[in-house]
Symmetry: C2
Subunit: 366 residues, 2 copies
């Protein structure tokens, strides 16, 4: 198990190169063995060097969340990008999409007649240069529409001059205990239904896109053609607690120093305080999580509170409290928000920092 | 009420210049009228231009959380900085503190004998150039020690050659409904007790530092000399829901576009989806909060879920759902984490973007 190299300045995000490589290979092999295409979501890492590893392992292209992320990855050589988001495109964004479409194959999402019309209007004569996938709600109840309504949106998009080539969904309700299989079944059902409906109305549904890290190994193959998991490259405490990975699969941790130490008493918990807080770990905490992250090699320790620069770690009875100055590694609940907090990450191999990679798409929210 | 200027690209953080100025003046006047000194915590904004406004309004110096933040603000001319954190200082950090102490008056926190000794050892012959304040736990039970133990830490620090000039606490348990007054009373009690104990043992306790935005107007004056509120410059949904400010006092909002719109049915909520998610609003949500932030001018709307790039806003019955493409302004739960997500903010006055300020200390976690 990797310890914290001497030249790390805590708090700092470190990536285990071997675990990263193994995670990338395993997902690629698993998805390909099912006959599905892998289009990993790079919002989870925002690092061009990692995208290059994913493409080298057989990914057919990349998924991003924003036009800004697409610009960064196309700028670093990506040639096939899906902006898996129901964009509302204004003239400035239309211009940016036109430019992107001259440099790469670009697809975007839509989930309403109005958004499709705004997209077409602001793409102008480039409307046909960009592919459009209609977003389906498969049970997450965020964006996306029902299969029946998807046909209406697809017709409006085609009528406005856009090139409708498929459908997509995000089974985000898979992120809860006991939900991955159910969410994968609902995803299969909703995409299958929408796909048939569009096909029977004359659409060539070339791309049927689903997937998430919790469901990627469970995705049905009867209608789905590609999956878009993201978190799997690093793993995190949510995936650990959802039993989607083990501690050995955790590639991203936050190196932290014990700065305060308390044996506790009747009124106060037995705890250590780390110099890593929500400004590097990220504050995400689903109701079912056991804390604000986990501690590597200390499975019974619990992060019970997170301030901006302090993690309060309640320590298990029967186990010595770490010393002041000791270095620990925190596993964040959600890697996507953790990596978006730093400008670079330390790549570690065999206990040494072997490289630092820029988080090139950090903060590209629009 | 400010609307969203035409040249804002959503999602983007905008600051209302007039509200910001008013918040800065009001806190300065309130604190000074009590005979207290104001040393605002600049981790809440990380913007040198805002620190300059605070100093111009009478702040005696600045508070920061990390050595990196101190470096940014000293680099921009700050001359009196308190790193209100129980630092565990290694040789590299000792060197950075030595350098800072040649350019500004620097104070740091400590809460253990061991940390004080590590600090002194790594400052070397500069140990006496830096002031040390012992951190007291006034009820938040994070870092800090009891008044009795504070004396032990102060003696060890002085014995190691450090210049102990005071004590400090953070009444962080004030961040909950019904808690601000109780936390302020406990702060007063703990700081008073520790102050007396150190003074009766021969320490000159020049600085007794407390405060937070929820307690700043309630701070006792019998022993406390300065307060360190931070959030008050902007206000946020937490302060709103703790009844520490009104919507008129909110200076920072996230401009967002409605990208998806659903009238809802038996199974799904009536909602709009905004293009702002946890990567710009921040994911903080205390258990007592009504949601993941609030919506300006729509007090009954509730942000029930937050993904990285989507806010799900459940809309009140009897009020028209916003249109697709409509611009709304989100009030984040916690401004300190929101501003740390962006590289610059748009300063708005009378409906126009009048400047863009760099968040110069963004990401300076160590």
């Amino acid at each position: 198990m990797t310890s914290v190299p001497e030249d790390i300045n805590t708090p700092e995000i470190m990536i285990d190169r071997e675990v990263l490589g193994r995670n990338i290979e395993r997902m690629a092999a698993a998805v390909q063995s099912k006959g599905l295409k892998l289009r990993p979501h790079v919002k989870s890492h925002k690092v061009p060097e990692i995208a290059a590893l994913q493409l080298a392992a057989g990914a057919v292209g990349l998924t991003v969340a924003t036009i800004g992320e697409a610009e960064v990855f196309v700028g670093r050589g990506a040639t096939d990008i899906f902006i898996a988001y129901p964009l509302w495109v204004n003239p400035r964004q239309g211009q940016r999409l036109r430019l992107l479409s001259t440099r790469a194959r670009i697809a975007v999402g839509t989930d309403s007649v109005e958004a499709a019309q705004a997209l077409a209007a602001n793409l102008g004569d480039a409307a046909n240069d960009i592919e459009v996938l209609v977003e389906i709600d498969s049970g997450h109840h965020r964006s996306g529409v029902s299969p029946a309504r998807a046909l209406q949106v697809a017709r409006a998009a085609a009528g406005a001059g856009l090139r409708v080539t498929g459908i997509f969904t995000f089974p985000g309700h898979s992120y809860a205990p006991g939900m991955p299989l159910k969410a994968a079944e609902q995803e299969q059902q909703a995409l299958g239904e929408a796909s048939e409906l569009l096909a029977s109305s004359g659409f060539h549904v070339a791309r049927v896109s689903g997937g998430s890290t919790p469901t990627a190994f469970l995705t049905g193959t009867s209608s789905i053609t590609e999956v878009r998991p993201g978190v799997y490259v690093f793993g995190d405490a949510q995936q650990l607690e959802l039993e989607r990975c083990t501690m050995e699969d955790i590639a991203l941790t936050i190196a932290a120093t014990v700065v305060s130490r308390h044996e506790g008493d009747d009124l106060t918990p037995r705890r250590v305080i780390l110099d890593a807080g929500s400004k590097i770990i990220g504050g995400d905490r689903p109701a079912w999580a056991t804390g604000f992250g986990r501690v590597m090699n200390h499975p019974r320790a619990r992060i019970t509170a997170l301030s901006e620069h302090h993690a309060t770690v309640v320590w298990p009875d029967g186990s010595d409290l770490p010393s002041l100055g000791e270095l620990l590694r925190v596993i964040p609940n959600h890697v996507c928000v953790a990596i978006n907090l730093v400008d670079e990450i330390a790549l570690v191999s065999n206990g040494q920092v072997v490289d630092r990679w820029r988080v090139a798409a950090r903060g590209r929210n629009n």
